[in-house]
């Protein structure tokens, strides 16, 4: 009995102690691994696709070798990354494909995130078939004819229907609704990660099999497996407003950078560099290809690019 009361009192006083010493805003707590040993640390969000890894690799290389920062990278999916960015657990996202809800919430209302400007790359999502197949069957590039080829696109996973392969669950996709609303005889199969999807695409390409996949540009894979986009009903402003009723193509999106508000203000040279960071689709693809296809480490790939494009990045440092 006495033991129980003692524990109760102890627990109570511990709680009091915790709550008594004031408020603790956990949205302002940085990563415990940041700024260790007095080193200035920048934490970058690294997304799962290679293009984003290329951005991060080059930024990391420059921050470490030109400005003397220590860089931590954390892999966070797109939407949670906004939350992490807002809390300061991540300092910057270098490639965002458009999340109007999140932007409204954090940039507009809470003001914990600020825009970091254009990345310089324009992104586009679409449905693709391999070019070798499109050459044999030119009409496959029109969505109305897709049902004709459903049989040829069948796999074990998709069963009786044709397979439309999607990537990571973190990617923006309307494909399930599209298949329903356009009345297509296809089954959406989620590869679970981009790498798994790429592996599968390359295996198909090796055997010259037909396939239909969700894909996006810029993407280095086009260099390896040429693919042709299938035309979906044209995109009009607002046609994708209701995710259940979408029946149109994906838009072309200028990719954006976002910075944590505190970091943007107090981040010194690092923040300035990340704000100025802007390159082209070709630049990004060059680095991506080195990472993904030549299996260079991101650091080696970044070094190669930095060595050969001094004029481009010198401008970011000023």
């Amino acid at each position: 009995m006495r033991l129980r009361t003692t524990t109760a009192v102890a627990a109570g006083s511990a709680l009091l102690l915790l709550t008594g010493c004031g408020a603790a805003d956990m949205t302002k707590q940085a990563s415990p691994f940041a700024n260790a040993q007095g080193a200035k640390t920048v934490t970058l969000s690294i997304q799962s696709w290679v293009g984003a890894q290329a951005n991060t690799a080059v930024a990391q290389y420059l921050l470490e070798h030109e400005l003397g920062y220590r860089v931590d990278t954390v892999q966070v999916d797109e939407v949670p990354a906004w939350d992490a960015l807002s809390q300061g657990r991540v300092d910057a996202i270098l490639e965002d494909w458009g999340h109007p809800d999140q932007e409204q919430r954090y940039v507009g209302d809470k003001k914990t995130i600020v825009r970091g400007g254009d990345l310089g790359v324009t992104g586009h999502i679409g449905w693709y078939v391999p070019t070798y197949f499109a050459k044999q069957h030119p009409d496959v590039t029109e969505w109305k004819n897709l049902n004709k080829y459903a049989d040829q696109m069948r796999t074990a996973e998709s069963g009786a229907k044709g397979q439309l392969m999607d990537g990571s669950p973190s990617y923006i996709t309307n494909d399930k609704a599209l298949v329903d609303n356009l009345d297509l005889d296809y089954q959406v199969v989620f590869a679970g990660s981009e790498a798994a999807q790429i592996t599968q695409i390359r295996q198909f390409a090796k055997e010259q099999k037909p396939f239909l996949t969700y894909w996006y540009s810029p993407q280095w894979l086009f260099e390896k497996v040429p693919m042709t986009e299938v035309k979906l009903p044209a995109y009009k402003e607002g046609c994708d407003a209701d995710p259940e009723k979408v029946a149109c193509a994906y838009p072309h999106t200028p990719l954006q950078k976002y910075l944590n508000a505190d970091f943007a203000e107090n981040g010194g040279k690092a923040a300035a560099l990340l704000k100025n960071f802007k390159w082209t689709t070709e630049d990004q693809n060059e680095v991506s290809l080195m990472i993904a296809d030549q299996k260079l480490t991101p650091e080696e790939a970044a070094k190669k690019w930095v060595d050969s494009h001094e004029s481009t990045w010198k401008a970011w440092l000023s």
């Binding site: 799962s48 797109e78 074990a156 996973e157 990571s168 669950p169």
Partner: protein, 646 residues
């Protein structure tokens, strides 16, 4: 055989006396009344829509509310905020200490501790383990994981010990806690991630708390077990000397339970480590994050470079705590050695500091990624498809999907919903009590109510297929290992490594081999569950009463007869336990299989995490909980309740 005495032909009343037959008849009676009723109202194969509750709206609102109020509401400012703050500060403190000690210091101190508690061989192993981590270029991530682990394990041990103390001392607490702890033990790690993310957001605090929630139950269970299992006569003797309750607790009950306490600590460490890796999905950082990143780019080499330190950490921690447990009660060595060794370790750390070698020198690194990737490329190029006669792994995966996974899934989804409930009830009741049957049926019904009937059956079909494969392979290997000492010795390190390898690491090679889809998820699950099944089978067969075996041998039974008629029947309980463990472990990995195209519930959880769509994720998480509960109850022999070891 002498044992084959003729049994009298059973008459009908005789059959009725069989409890199994009675239970089935009763169940059939209940079904005969309820099924037509249910069928008349909600005639559909799948779970009727009328019986579902849509939780996505309220959940989405809750999630929005939390995000909007996280920086302003007092609950967050004055409670969760402090918890989060404490976690961040303590992880940071440990991390800074580890960095300040430098790689030489950390290695020296770890080896010293291992030497004192476990002997010279383990000390050398520990040092080699840490140096390998550095050599693989993973020093900093290893330290991050270690820092997180230290905090999480301490917190789990304290929380678990307190809960265990409560359950060990009070019968009422025990009755209340035990089912909860038992259930938590069987749930896949993935199911724990979402609720903490909901409250704490992505990051280290969420990761640490998820780890604590996951790792505390074994400590609590073993603490309670140790306190309750203490030698009654010793306690009586202590009481007969006129001790107070407090004296009894401090001088007898807790010291008597120290073996269980250490075993609990050991299990907590192992579970914390596996969770610390999985928690990289919610921003734990460290080694797990490296594996996760490698998974995203199917970079087997990089994954292995990060996976090896995890395995090394796991093996070192496991061996050292296990050895500490075994050494209990033997003579202590003099503390003077400690002093010398400590001085040596500090000297090494200081030397490292003075030499400016705190960070692992970059020149000393071994790039294993390239050769491994080349090997994997070769493997995928040569094994993936078109291998003469046997076909490629991709073809196997395809055939497995078409001929096994699809029929099982379609069959399950074709079954009317009430018949699924009936089957669950019958299985659970036959193997357990009406209590377990009720729990199992309610869990299954809850899945329907949550509106995820179809994806859950999809997941279930993967679990069933994987369990079948696991059991066939596991029993075969287990029997072989039980019959040959040499084979068992050769197998042991392999099992050790596979058991400590984080679940994530399996996913990458299987994608490379089996492509994308449900087949690789099943393959990863089989690989993960196999060691436990093999181990339990071997142990069960080896523990069969030697007298029974001897008597069979004296009657001239062949070794096949011995196995079939003596060993397997006598090891029945172990085999059932193996099935139960197999099911639980398979479920854990099939869920993670969502990351490689396994779809169903696992995909929903990953989707929920990835898109911040906590409504989808939480509902799927709850369904996983129910599925785990149901599967555990359906395969849980009643004996397990009474005789539960670790």
């Amino acid at each position: 055989m002498a044992t084959l005495t003729a049994t009298a032909p059973r008459t009908i009343p005789g059959a009725l006396k069989q409890p199994a037959v009675r239970k089935l008849l009763l169940l059939a009676l209940v079904a005969a009344i309820l099924v037509p009723l249910a069928n008349a109202r909600w005639a559909s194969g799948a779970w009727p829509d009328a019986l579902t509750v849509d939780l996505s709206e309220p959940l989405a609102r809750t999630s929005d509310w939390i995000i909007d109020n996280r920086d302003s509401h007092p609950l967050f400012l004055y409670f969760f905020g402090h918890i989060s703050n404490a976690v961040v500060l303590s992880v940071r403190a440990v991390y800074l200490v580890l960095l300040a000690a430098g790689w030489a210091g950390v290695t020296a101190i770890a080896a010293l501790v291992a030497w004192r508690v476990a002997g010279v061989r383990l000390a050398l192993g520990t040092a080699a383990g840490f140096l390998t981590c550095g050599l693989l270029g993973m020093w900093i991530p290893t330290m991050q994981t270690l820092a997180l682990m230290v905090v999480a394990v301490l917190a789990s041990a304290v929380v678990g010990a307190l809960l265990g103390l409560a359950a060990g001392l009070s019968d009422r607490m025990d009755r209340a806690l035990r089912p909860v702890l038992d259930t938590m033990q069987v749930l896949p790690a993935f199911a724990y991630l979402l609720p903490v993310v909901l409250v704490f957001g992505i990051g280290v605090p969420a990761a640490v708390l998820a780890t604590v929630v996951y790792a505390a139950p074994p400590m609590a269970r073993l603490t309670a077990l140790g306190l309750r299992g203490a030698d009654k006569e010793v306690l009586e003797a202590v009481e007969s000397l006129g001790s107070t309750a407090r004296q009894r607790l401090l001088t007898a009950r807790i010291p008597l339970a120290r073996k269980e306490l250490l075993l609990g600590l050991n299990q907590t460490i192992m579970m914390a480590l596996s969770m610390a890796v999985i928690a990289s999905v919610i921003g734990a950082g460290g080694l797990g994050d490296r594996v996760y990143q490698a998974l995203a780019s199917v970079d087997v080499g990089a994954a292995l470079a990060a996976g090896i330190p995890i395995v090394l950490l796991a093996v070192v921690l496991d061996r050292v705590t296990a050895a500490a447990g075994e050494r209990l009660g033997t003579e202590r060595k003099s503390p003077v050695h400690w002093a010398y060794a400590l001085a040596a370790a500090v000297a090494i750390a200081v030397a490292g500091r003075l030499a400016g070698r705190l960070d692992w020198p970059e020149a000393w690194s071994l790039n294993i990624a390239d050769p491994v990737n080349r090997a994997v490329d070769w493997m995928t190029a040569h094994l993936y498809s078109g291998v003469p006669v046997v076909g490629g792994t991709a073809e196997w995966a395809g055939h497995f999907t078409t001929w096994v996974l699809d029929p099982v899934r379609d069959g399950l989804q074709w079954l009317p919903w009430w018949s699924v409930l009936l089957i669950v009830a019958a299985l659970a009741w036959l193997i357990g009590t009406w209590h377990t049957a009720l729990t199992a049926v309610l869990a299954m019904a809850a899945i329907g109510v949550l509106g995820v009937w179809q994806p859950s059956l999809d997941t279930l079909s993967q679990v069933l297929a994987a369990v079948a494969v696991t059991l066939v392979l596991g029993f075969a290997t287990g029997i072989a290992a039980a019959r040959s000492d040499r084979f068992e010795r050769a197998l042991r390190p392999v099992l050790d490594v596979f058991q400590t390898m984080p679940q994530f690491v399996y996913l990458i090679p299987v994608v490379a081999l089996f492509g994308v889809g449900r087949a690789p998820a099943v393959a990863a699950a089989v690989v993960y569950a196999l060691p436990a099944v093999v181990r339990i089978t071997t142990q069960g067969l080896r523990q069969v009463d030697p007298a029974a075996l001897e008597s069979a041998r004296s009657l001239g039974a062949t070794s096949a007869q011995q196995l079939r008629q003596v060993q397997l029947p006598l090891a029945r309980r172990s085999l059932l336990l193996a099935v139960n463990q197999g099911v639980v472990l398979v479920l854990a990995v099939v869920i993670i299989g969502g990351l490689v195209g396994g779809g169903a519930l696992g995909y929903d959880v990953v989707f929920g995490l990835a898109q911040g769509d906590l409504a989808t994720g939480l509902v799927a998480g709850a369904a996983i909980v129910c599925l785990g509960l149901m599967l555990d109850r359906v395969t849980q022999p009643t004996e397990r309740r009474t005789k539960k070891g670790a």
